[in-house]
Amino acid sequence: MAVVTQSAMTAEPSVTSPKMTARDLNLFYGENQALFDVNLDIVERQVTALIGPSGCGKSTFLRCMNRMNDTIDGVTINGQVTLDNRDIYDKAIDVVQLRARIGMVFQKPNPFPKSIYDNVSYGPRIHGLVNSRDELDEIVMTSLERAGLLKEVKDRLQEPATGLSGGQQQRLCIARAVAVSPEVILMDEPCSALDPIATAKVEELIDELRSNYTIVIVTHSMQQAARVSQRTAFFHLGKVVEVGETDQIFTNPKDERTKGYITGRFG
């Protein structure tokens, strides 16, 4: 298993020029406040893991980063989230284009009930990224390749995606996100519905994708966070309790609550 532990991470890019930032972000579901003054920086071409007990707001925060919460009624947000120093909640931002720049992979594999090929070509098609069938073929192939799925499916691209195994479906969803050439990929517990072998494959994939994309991953598994991420943020009751290099968070947490959570005293 080619899982890299980040014990020898020295050349971390400066957090002074983050890819994405959140500043004083508050979110309400109707009357209930789910996020309290969240401040967080996402470093380019790194994996940032969001950990914390259930209901702590980490998935909610993730969905703020590509404005997926817009599709839910009764959500109000104040504060600022930026991508390359531009506020993504600005009125001038086209949310559709924003989501093309910030892809998302969900908890449960959710391939469309179409063929494998059509699943991957869906994004490039709707965004008009290609002019010819050949270009489209190429994007589909490279995306599947990047998601480490090409070898397994290249002889059955026209078969329904729902016939793949759970792990393959999740990697297909990653390929589908990659096909739009996003800058950031958000992953919401991408392995929680997968068996250990499929999980290992997806983790390996995340590690490879890091060279091209900025990745934010929500996970319940602290081992997973330790294995795949370079930075970790610990959420508790809607607040960011502690954020820092993964290594530091897991070996030398500064906050008592972080310590309690990673040592398994609650969560």
């Binding site: 590509n66 997926m68 599709t71 009624d73 559709v96 284009q97 924003l98 989501r99 093309a100 892809g103 998302m104 992979v105 969900f106 449960k108 959710n110 391939p111 469309f112 009930p113 179409k114 869906y122 994004g123 709707i126 965004h127 729902t162 969803c173 589908r176 996100a177 739009v180």
Partner: protein, 459 residues
Amino acid sequence: MSLTFLLLAIAALCALSFYFGRQRAIALSGGRYSNLHSLPAHYGTYTAMWCGLPAILLLLVWHMFQGTIIQGMIISDLPPEILNDSGKLSLALNSIFLLAADNGEHLSVSPEVIDAGKRLASLQIIANVALVVVMISVALVGLAFSYRKISRDMRARNNVERISRYVMIACSGIAILSTVGIVFSLLFEALHFFTKINPLDFLFGLEWSPQTAIRADQVASEGAFGAIPLFVGTLLITLIAMCVAVPVGLFSAIYMGEYASPKFRAFAKPALEILAGVPTVVYGFFAALTVAPFLRDNGAVLGLDVSSESALAAGLVMGVMIIPFVSSLSDDVMSQVPQSLRDGSYGLGATKSETIRNVIFPAALPGIVGAVLLAVSRAIGETMIVVMAAGLAANMTVNPLQAVTTVTVQIVTLLVGDQEFDSAKTLSAFALGLALFLITLGLNVFALKFVQKYREKYD
């Protein structure tokens, strides 16, 4: 004593036994209900069930056999010369029943028959009194039996559960049996028809004119029973109706399900469903008095010859009638498409309409096809609108501006005529009904299969 009164008496007994059963359970509990196996109300229900159900079952069985048994008793007393002649026998029985019902004073019949009439009347009275006595006693026996069985450990709750299950089985049995009954009543009359008319002529004949002579000395045509023009008319009107209902219903479903704000939806959805509550006869007025003249007048302006009873008018109005059917079924199907698929599409940067067109609609398509097929079978069977707006002339045409007729319209006109019942004309209505039943049944089965296939995909 009338049947209503008897049933009321049984109901009163049931209420009483509920009270008794409950009281006894409470008395046995010694003040603490937890001493009992079940709640006191369960014991009450248990006694009420034992009181009412056997009595009602007896009533049903009694009514099934009372007539036959009494008739058998009467017949056995008749003199042999009547018994040996079936014609005389049925005549005599007819007179006997008239006499017994105090309706036979004018009859001139033999004294044996008059005696038999009197005997029948007295037998009927005895039978009715006996029924009352027996039913009330069965109810009381049931009450006493169950009352005595009540004890602290008696599992009244489980018993009530079991008995309720049998009651429900009986109810669904009635529903299924009536379907079977309908099919058989159609089937026998239709077979009767096919002994007079060749089924092939019926199924493939191109001419429909069922006017046969009422009396033997009348001059009339032979009658032609080719059903094709009727089915062509039915399909034409159904097609027009679907052209209205499918796009309008589907788009309104998409709007209601995906775009409308909850507030607007709360108002608009019931408003749309009001359409489903309009009686079809009112749609019929609307088609015949508003839409058809409108089409005729506007057709005249355009130089088209629209007949005043046109397939178009009937089809358009029928389409309006079916809109809520299509829209609420497809709304259900589309709202079953998992949120995760929508999220997946939005997450890739698709807009709402792209998501609906490329993801939700294809995923819901099998279900929508099922909904449309159900709507088609509804349209094919629809009667009142076409009776009022489509006309009677069995024209073999696909021109929507002309009058056509449908299978249902013909069934209505055939059965309200003054033909004798076993003429080919009247019987043909049953053959048409059977054909219609088979077509809609086939469509429904097909539609349900489609919907099922769709369901397997996501569960």
